[in-house]
């Protein structure tokens, strides 16, 4: 199957790659079908690409890259946890939303966006550590 996205052009995928978000992402409830795109040229970022809106895609990152030990209770052992990234200019100002993780289950691939109760997780956690930005 084929789908064209504004950022990535034509993507080829199989039905098993499709991830259904029954409630969509928060603020984007009408978009419920996505692909996870692993862009090798921009590791460690992944993209959640809408299969309904060619303009819509969200960059994500494995939260372990930003907050080692980050865990979402109730996510299930086989679930994939990823967090949305707000990429800004300058790039040092980019942030990760650790408060609202995206959890993707296996068999079937169903995704949800949660909002954690705990205030120890920020909606805007700096993507880069302060020391690294200075260096």
């Amino acid at each position: 199957m084929k789908w064209t996205n504004r950022q990535f052009g034509e993507l080829e995928y199989e039905p098993r790659h499709e991830i259904v978000f029954p409630d969509g992402l928060i603020g984007f409830e009408r978009n419920t079908r996505f692909l996870l795109v692993n862009d090798d040229s921009a590791k460690p970022f992944l993209w959640l690409v809408s299969l309904e809106d060619s303009d819509l895609c969200f960059p994500l990152i494995d939260p372990q890259m930003v907050r080692p030990g980050y865990a979402v209770t109730g996510a299930g052992p086989n679930a994939t946890v990823l967090n949305l990234v707000a990429l800004r200019t300058p790039v040092e100002d980019s942030t990760v939303n650790l408060r609202s993780p995206v959890v993707i289950g296996k068999d079937p691939q169903v995704g949800r966006q949660l909002v954690l109760d705990s205030e120890q997780f920020s909606f805007r956690q700096p993507l880069f550590s302060a020391a690294a930005v200075k260096g």
Partner: protein, 92 residues
């Protein structure tokens, strides 16, 4: 907006299977108890709005910004991993 008055321990029903009950009223705060089907998303409005704003910012990015951030990431030292513990040696 529909406005209803309720007293302590009174409740309202919304649609099929959602009940909102006034559980406590104290110091200008109202505590609500909510019964709803599992698939109904219930969030404090300000958390919904913060997430919505953050999602919109994420969606506005383009691939070139990710490429630049990826280059920046490559220059950053790997994050600290929580201290690893070794399992005890097995008895023969």
């Amino acid at each position: 907006m529909l406005i209803l008055s309720r007293k302590l321990d009174e409740s309202i029903r919304i649609g099929d299977g959602i009940v909102v009950k006034i559980v406590a009223i104290q110091d200008g705060q109202v505590k609500l108890g909510i019964d709803a089907p599992r698939d109904v998303r219930i969030l404090r409005s300000e958390l919904y709005e913060e997430t919505q704003k953050s999602n919109k910012q994420a969606a506005s990015a383009d691939r070139s910004a990710a490429l630049e951030a990826a280059r920046r990431f490559a220059q950053q030292p790997a994050p600290d991993v929580p201290a690893a513990v070794k399992p005890p040696a097995r008895n023969p």
